[in-house]
Every structure is written in structure tokens, then in C-alpha cells.
């Protein structure tokens, strides 16, 4: 596998940058502007100290038009330092358990060509004692990473979970939103239990747990190459406007997908559920069984204004089923929609013209590994069992649009179950938790049973 080969071949001594003074908890908002904690560009300086404005960080693009610089042949061939590395002091400040956001903004320069073999962007966090910078991810204690690869326009992202002697194991593959010449943001999040990776504000991977148990980030590295891999010569490539920053938990996030509330599966334990009294453990068969899905809203950017496959409707309007499917596939709705647009045809549409937003599951061939079941009558017991079997229930409901006031069909994903008191109720009940692609306030399926005019219609189980 090319990815692992490249990683394991990166045995050179990479440069660990020590920032002057860095403190955790610096508030940053995307796009980062004035308070970067560290700024570094290879070929200019080893380190631009904190607060330096040696070149602008206020824009992500032409403002830092620095000549191309070959930065990666060393890491591949074992010569000189290659990668951008977050300041050690930043890493040190974030060494305790807790929730951290580490944000890296960068612009890929013109030396990175989509037309010339591969373009790798690698960023990793690893905590092993001897590979602070070498990115082999082959040692116990190594944690997480992300790799974006492009070959002549084809892009992908892998979230790689290391911590084994044989190197990294790809646990997520998804299309990338990284763009050459664009202003991109990578963000790692560790909340004390789960790890997440966001690219340009979109949750690309996670939640998942690391295997080291250290619960902390080691160091971060960002590097770019152009052409060749796994021992082959690499061409030039450079980045500008790279910023490493830490954002404390609770910082308002620039996109909804960054908020902790977007990860409902993070609190599956029944013990975390507010129990009204010291009642016995409820017999909720689905508690503790959580669907491993991402969380997206159909109205979020950039996919919200996009048209749904061949339909004339936007994803924001009619893309609830698409967004449910995207959550199941753990790919953002834009990526899934683009895949459908590339493979769908008039003769075999995934979403035909004004087709009510339903996926024709028979035409979702690009997404293998998922067996769509039949429509079924709604049954909470069936859903509980399905969750514990690793299946994903999509429930068809009737809802009243808050925007238009119109009734219409809608689809949500059931992600788990808890034993809590529903609004307006006096006692706790077994309640199915949902990811609702169209509503940020409906977090339980019974939301659709409380309001007049709304109801549950039926359901479909997806067998991953």
C-alpha cells in the first residue's frame, strides 16, 4: 500500500520547532488572522516566532508568494528536515487529558501539481517516544494521522490509526476537500475520549479512540510533496501561511460540524443519562449500542445550496435522505452527492428529477459494503436490536417545516438509545436518539410524535 510505504520510509530526522512562548487556550477563529501561536515556512526560516508578521497570515493565498521550495525529498530519502512541525511548547501545553482543538491553516503552493503523480499532505499526531517527527507510526503510542493524496485530480483522505509495528491502518477513506491553492484547514480534536479530524470545517473522520491510552497529542506535522512516493524522487512543493493553533473547548466554532453536539454517539452510556430517581436500570435494549455514523446537516455549506444529483432541488431543501446516507457512509454530503452525480444517469438515477428526495438504493453501486433492506413498519424493538447488531436504522417521518410550515416526508438516522425524560413528560422512558439532517433541535425520535401533524411513517435498516 502506497500510504503505508511512504510513512514507513519516512525515517529521516525531521525538524521539531520550538516556539518561544506558547500558552494553551489561545482563542482562534477560522480564518486565523492575528494571533497565531507559531508560524513556520521551510526555506525561509526555521521558525517565525509567535506573533511575527514576517509574512502575512491574514490571507491564505497570494500574500505569501514565496518561491517554491523542495521540502520533502529529505523525509523520504533520509536527508534533511522536511516537514512543518507544530511548536513543541504547544504540544507540551496540550499534554494533559482534555479536549483540544489544534488547527492548521495552510495554502498549498504552485509547486504542488495535480498533474504530476502524487500530492501528499500528511499531518499526524503521535505520541511514541522515539518517533516524534519521523511519522512511521509504527510504534506503540503513535496515535492518529491524516493523509490527503491526489493523483491527477483524484483526491482522497485517509485517517490512519497507527500504533502497530506494521505501520498505519487505514480506518476511514473519504474524498478530500483539500484544494490546491486554496486555503485549507485541518483540525484535530481530542475530547478526552474520542478523536476527530476536520478538514475545512467538515468532520472527515471520527469519532474513534486511539489505542495508546495516552490521551494526548504528541506532535503535529504537515508536509507536502509533488511526484513520486516510497523512495522515488520527489519534486518541489511548498506551503505558505501555515498556522498551528490551539483552541480550548467551548470556543464557538465556525461551522456546526465542529460543535460537540454534532457527535451524539459520544455519550452513549446509560449512566450518563439523567435519571429522575433511583429507579432500577431501565430495560432499554438499545442503550450502549450506537450507530457509528457521522453527523451532518443538509443545510450546511458547502453542500446545502448544491442541487441534489439530477434533481432541481437543493440538498438543503430535499437532501435529507442524501445526508442520512452520507452520515452512514461517513462522507460529507457534498462528496456523496458528487459521487452520485458522476455515476447516476437518466436511465438509472440515484435521485431523479424531483423524486422526493428518496434514494434509489439500487443505484448506489459506488458505495459498496452496504446492503439496504426493505421498508418496514416502524418498530422500536426492531430498531434496538438493529443497533446492537451494528445496523443503521433510517426512519421515515412526516414533519412540518419550520421554514415553510408545509408538511412533508423526512428521513432521520437513529444513532442510539437513552433513558431520559422527554419534554413534557414526567417520567423517563426509553428514547431513540437521532441524527436529524434537517433540524438541530430534534435529538430524539419522539420529537416527531409530540407535535400535531408530525408522525413516524416507517423505517429502513441498512446493513453495513
Amino acid at each position: 500500500m502506497r500510504t503505508i510505504g511512504w510513512l514507513s520510509s519516512c525515517l529521516g530526522i525531521c525538524l521539531l520547532i520550538s516556539a518561544a512562548t506558547v500558552s494553551a487556550g489561545i482563542i482562534e477563529q477560522y480564518p486565523l488572522a492575528t494571533n497565531a501561536v507559531g508560524l513556520y515556512h521551510p526555506g525561509i526560516d526555521d521558525l517565525i516566532p509567535e506573533g511575527s508578521v514576517a509574512f502575512s497570515v491574514t490571507t491564505c493565498g497570494a500574500a505569501a508568494n514565496i518561491p517554491a521550495y523542495s521540502i520533502l525529498n529529505a523525509c523520504n530519502n533520509g536527508t534533511s528536515p522536511t516537514a512543518l512541525v507544530a511548536p513543541a511548547s504547544l504540544m507540551s501545553a496540550m499534554s494533559g487529558l482534555g479536549a483540544y482543538y489544534i488547527q492548521m491553516n495552510f495554502t498549498a503552493g504552485p509547486g504542488i501539481s495535480f498533474d504530476n503523480y502524487y500530492y501528499d499532505l500528511y499531518a499526524a499526531s503521535y505520541g511514541g517516544p522515539s518517533d516524534v517527527c519521523t511519522a512511521d507510526l509504527g510504534e506503540a503510542g503513535d496515535l492518529i494521522g491524516i493523509l490527503a493524496t491526489s493523483q491527477k485530480g483524484y483526491a482522497e483522505v485517509e485517517w490512519i490509526l497507527g500504533n502497530s509495528a506494521s505501520g498505519a491502518t487505514a480506518i476511514v477513506r473519504t474524498s478530500s476537500v483539500l484544494e490546491y491553492g486554496g486555503c485549507n484547514t485541518l483540525k484535530f480534536v481530542f475530547d478526552g475520549t474520542y478523536y476527530y479530524i476536520f478538514i475545512n470545517g467538515i468532520l472527515e473522520a471520527g469519532p474513534t479512540t486511539g489505542t495508546s491510552g495516552t490521551g494526548q497529542f504528541g506532535s503535529l506535522m504537515l508536509q507536502v510533496t509533488d511526484g513520486g512516493y516510497n523512495g522515488a524522487a520527489r519534486g518541489g512543493g511548498w506551503m505558505s501561511n501555515v498556522v498551528f493553533a490551539s483552541i480550548p473547548v467551548g470556543t464557538p466554532s465556525p461551522t456546526p460540524s465542529m460543535t460537540p453536539s454534532m457527535t451524539p454517539s459520544m455519550t452513549p452510556s446509560p449512566s450518563a443519562s439523567p435519571s429522575p430517581t433511583a429507579t432500577p436500570t431501565p430495560a432499554c435494549a438499545g442503550i450502549g449500542c450506537n450507530a457509528q455514523v457521522a453527523s451532518y446537516k443538509q443545510y450546511d455549506s458547502p453542500w446545502g445550496p448544491e442541487t441534489l444529483d439530477a434533481s432541481t432541488d437543493t440538498i438543503a431543501l430535499s437532501g435529507c435522505m442524501l445526508t442520512c446516507f452520507a452520515m452512514v457512509m461517513e462522507q460529507d454530503p457534498d462528496t456523496v452527492n458528487n459521487t452520485f452525480e458522476a455515476t447516476s444517469s437518466t436511465a438509472s438515477p440515484v435521485f431523479a428529477t424531483n423524486n422526493s428526495g428518496r434514494i434509489n438504493f439500487g443505484n448506489t453501486a459506488p458505495f459498496t459494503g452496504l446492503a439496504p433492506g426493505s421498508n418496514e413498519n416502524y418498530d422500536q424493538t426492531v430498531i434496538e436490536n438493529a443497533l446492537c447488531q451494528g445496523e443503521v436504522p433510517i426512519v421515515h417521518v412526516i414533519r412540518i417545516s419550520k421554514r415553510t410550515g408545509l408538511r412533508g416526508d423526512h428521513y432521520v438516522i437513529v444513532t442510539g438509545e437513552d433513558f431520559t425524560i422527554a419534554p413534557g413528560a414526567t417520567a423517563a422512558t426509553c428514547r431513540l436518539k437521532i441524527n436529524d439532517p434537517g433540524d438541530s433541535t430534534f435529538d430524539h425520535l419522539d420529537s416527531y410524535q409530540r407535535l400535531a401533524g408530525q408522525s413516524i411513517v416507517d423505517m429502513r435498516l441498512l446493513y453495513p
Binding site: D313, L317, S318, C320, S345, T346, A347, S348, P349, F351, A352, T353, N354, N355, S356, G357, R358, N360, F361, G362, N363, A365, T368, G369, L370, A371, P372, G373, S374, N375, E376, N377, Q389, G390, E391, H396, I398, R399, I400, S401, T404, L406, R407, G408, D409, H410, V457, D458, L461, Y463, P464
Partner: protein, 324 residues
Amino acid sequence: MKWIVITIGLVGTVVCADAFGANPPYAQLLSINFSAPNLEAYLSDTAGNRTGIDPSAVLDSVGRQIVNGIEAPNGLQEIPGSASDQSNIEGQSTTGWEIDIENPSDTYVLNYTSIYLAAADAVSIDLQSYSPRKLTPFNIYLLAQKNVYKQLQISVSLAGITITPTINSGDFLRDTQSACALEDISPPEACEALEDLAAEVEKSISGGDARKEASELNLYLFVLNLLHNWGSSGSLQNWRNLAGCPECVPLFKKGTHGVNFFAKDPAYSALVLDAQTLLNALPNQGTSQGGGNQDGSDQGGGNHGGGNEGGGNQGESNHRRGDN
């Protein structure tokens, strides 16, 4: 009434060769999706059970069925192991339908109609098998009209899935008129010629004149494919080969300069299916000429009736295009 049988083998594209998760608690699923502009349908089995839209239900302006004054999104579900589901996102003008049959093994009849005077849709009829997972997709274009129920026979057995379009008297002309009403064929002179040819076909059927019927159908297909291929590389872009066709006079009068001729999907493929269904039901009638392509290239448009991309074996499908 004339039928033509198209058999598709069960050997389809393997969707998930190495399934790593669970499978549904049934071996096969027949899933029929009406995805677009308000084709309403129900499926009936040989025992008379029905699943899908209730033909006695009132449809509202966007095609949702209303039973006893209440929206009934599930419709009839009389066939054992069946489910149906209608879906209309808020404010949409059309309603989609899906009909599922678990472990199908019968000869079903799909009865479809529309709330519109004319409607066309790409309908997916998928047979999903599990363990190992594989999919036999079947996509077909259909034209429908308000207050007219048309039929498609779907037989599922271990031997395969068989789709049998049913062309009733008047359907061919009605579908041609619908295609023109939907503006999938242009200019009006082309519609005039095709409608006249379709009327001649209907007369031949009524009169039992198989030879004339075949001649008119081949001419119809030639004109239709010529329109469809207009502008494509190697295609004919004149009416010279239509000399002696009185129904084609409007086209001669129209000329060829500065006119945008076309016949496009979904109506185009639905009409080809109609014509070839009728043609192949005739005794000793071969495949019609594809029309239009001088170089024999396969530009005749979409697949019709037979399994298409990723689909099963073509089996006895009689539909070929561009076979000049």
C-alpha cells in the same frame, strides 16, 4: 394486446463481494422505484393481492394518496412480505413511490398511471440478492397518462427476472402524443410525422395487417432514431431516405436548415421500447434498423428493456441499436 418477453439472468453486478456485515433477514428483495414525475403504481400478484398505491384513493395535487381524508403514505400492502412507501418532501410538486417485495417468487403485474395528462419516468426495478450480495438492476423508461392504467408484467423465479411490457390498443399513439406533449420531441413537424405513423400502426393492428404494421413500425423507428441522433457524428441529417413516406411530408416541408431536431429521453427510450415491443411480437419480424447512424456506431440512445449498466445478462433481449 401484445406482449414481448425480455429475460434477464440473475447473474448481475456483484455489489459487495466480501460482505463484512449482516444481511437482511431475507434472501432477495425486489425493489421498484418510481422516482420522478408522479407515476403512481401498485403491484398485484397472481392471488390478487396488491401493494402500492390504492387505486381507489384520492390523489392530491402533488400525487399523495388520501384515504378517508387522511394522507396514507404506505398505501396497500396486501402482498405477503411487501411494503410500499410514498414520499413527498415539503413543497415538492411530485411524489415518489417505492414498492418492495421480500423473497419475491411470483408473476406480478405493475399497474401504473399518472395524475398528469402526460408523464414520463425512469423506473428502477432492482432485484437485490444477499449472501453473497449482488444486484440485478433493471431500469426502464415509461410513459403514462392520467386516468389510464398501463401494465408491466414482472416475473421473478430462480431462473431470472422477466419483464413483459403490455401494449394495449391505443397505447402506442397515446405514448407518442405524450412524448410530444412533454416536448421531448421537436419540432412540431416531427411530432406530426410520428403521430401520423403511430396512427397508421394502430390501424394496421386493428386491421390485422402484420406486414403493414411492421413496415410502419420500422419507418417510425427510423424517423425516431434519426431525430435522436441528429447532430451526432456520422448521423444522417436529411430526409432523403424518407421519400415515399406520406406521413413524413411535414418534415420535408420543414427542411433541415436552422431547425433543432431532437427526440430525447425519457420519452425517446419509452417510445423505442413501445415500437420494438410491437415489432418483435409480430411473427417472423427481426429487429428494426436503428436509424440515423451511417457508420453503424452505437448512438441510438439508452438501453431499453434489457439489463443495462451493471445489469444482468441481456438474455433474450431483442433491443439493439445502430445495427445498420
